[in-house]
Amino acid sequence: MNHLSVVDVARYYGRRKALSQISFTCDAGEIVGLLGPNGAGKSTLLSILATIVTPSRGQVTYGDRAPGESGGAAIRATIGMLGHDLFLYPELTARENLTFFAHLYGVADVAGTVSSALAQANLSDRADDYVSSFSRGMRQRVALERALLHGPQLILLDEPFTGLDQTSTAALVARLRERQQAGCLIVLATHDLDVAEGLLSRAIYLKEGRIVGSDTDSRGLVDRYRRTIRS
């Protein structure tokens, strides 16, 4: 997948409009930030991009594929998602969680992939501990590696910096940059503008379900966010 195209996407829940007239395109190697206050539609948009939610109107195209045409499974194979909830089973160990999802995602060398994912998360020595005993930062690291197990080209992250300390945040930023260098397209929704500043290739500002602005300069993001969202 070398680009993602969102064309006139809208999503309604009954009479409530969660998203309206959303259109943008982005390319491989970009880190795109969805910025906006609570209820702006960021998570809904990420869920639509993840094929979990169907748009009420409009279309999302992944490279040259659309979910309706070539079957969702082929598209989902190119997507990795880290939600606000971490999609991990607390009753399983870190290794068991990753092994389960590696099997589910059809990874060829499960044991090898899981070992390197644990090493990447810096959790090799805690691999056989239950996830319920982990701190938020450790869980986040496992969850991120869970999302990257199958080498997705499109990485979707919903509030990935929430609850992380400075060290964990820096590690996450480094991992995202490494995936960006590898040619992945990363779309993240965040409120953490301080971290987003300097990280994003492009910022898309959402307010009340609509795009109210976008820019490709992530310096001075905090000021521009305030101006754009208040206007």
Binding site: I52, L86, E91, F100
Partner: protein, 227 residues
């Protein structure tokens, strides 16, 4: 197709691993089912004798109530950390997720029935060893028919706030035919003069139900789970 079974098997294995560690579902459903049978036995059995046909009814009441409890819990577990989304994000046929959850539920209910059936036999003098093959077939077919519909409804309701109330409200009216077949078929085997042909008829109806509802559930799972 091999991907379908691989995913279904992984979901079953994961559910069983979690259950072996927490024992949450099996203990609550088993305790509930045993309590139901015990309460009925104290209320109905007089001087060691139970009215005719009552054992079959009580067995299926216990199975259906315990099954409803287990269905709700098995999907509640996927809701805690939004792991259902991770399952739905897998590049696999989504019906395989349904098949895995259904098989996991069947295994749990099977375990409950292994305790429940001898208990009913003991308390209500039910001749469970007279036609063990037919009784096991009835239990498997009835439990599958009930769980097939219940698993689909439990998955549909996982994001609904009033899911605990809605699940039985939706499930029981639709699965009444399964319960009738199960009760009548089991009663035909438990009665003083067992009626094998009648039991076979109820088994055949249950198998037809299973084929229809498992197919329908596999077919509708993907659209139902995509918001």
């Amino acid at each position: 197709m091999s991907g379908f079974f691989r995913v279904a098997w992984q979901v079953v294995r994961k559910d069983m691993t979690v259950e072996v560690r927490s024992k949450e579902i099996v203990l609550t459903t088993l305790l509930f089912a045993v309590s139901v049978v015990l309460i009925f036995s104290f209320a109905i059995v007089r001087e060691g004798r139970a009215p005719d046909d009552v054992a079959a009814g009580i067995l299926w009441v216990a199975i259906s109530f315990a099954g409803t409890l287990a269905m709700g819990r098995t999907f509640e577990r996927e809701r805690y950390n939004d792991t259902l989304r991770a399952l739905l994000l897998a590049p696999a046929d989504r019906p395989a997720i349904y098949a895995g959850k259904l098989l996991g539920l069947l295994l749990l209910l099977g375990l409950v029935e292994i305790i429940l059936v001898p208990l009913v036999a003991l308390l209500f003098n039910a001749p469970i060893l007279a036609f063990p093959g037919k009784l096991i077939t009835l239990l498997i077919a009835g439990t599958l028919g009930f769980a097939a519909v219940g698993t689909l409804f439990a998955a549909m309701l996982v994001r609904v706030r009033s899911r605990d109330t809605l699940l039985p409200v939706l499930l029981y009216p639709i699965t009444v035919p399964v319960m009738i077949c199960g009760v009548r078929g089991t009663a035909a085997l438990f009665q003083a003069t067992p009626d094998e042909p009648l039991a076979r008829l109820w088994i055949a109806i249950l198998i037809a139900w299973d084929v229809i509802f498992v197919t329908l559930s596999l077919w509708t799972f993907e659209p139902v789970m995509t918001e």
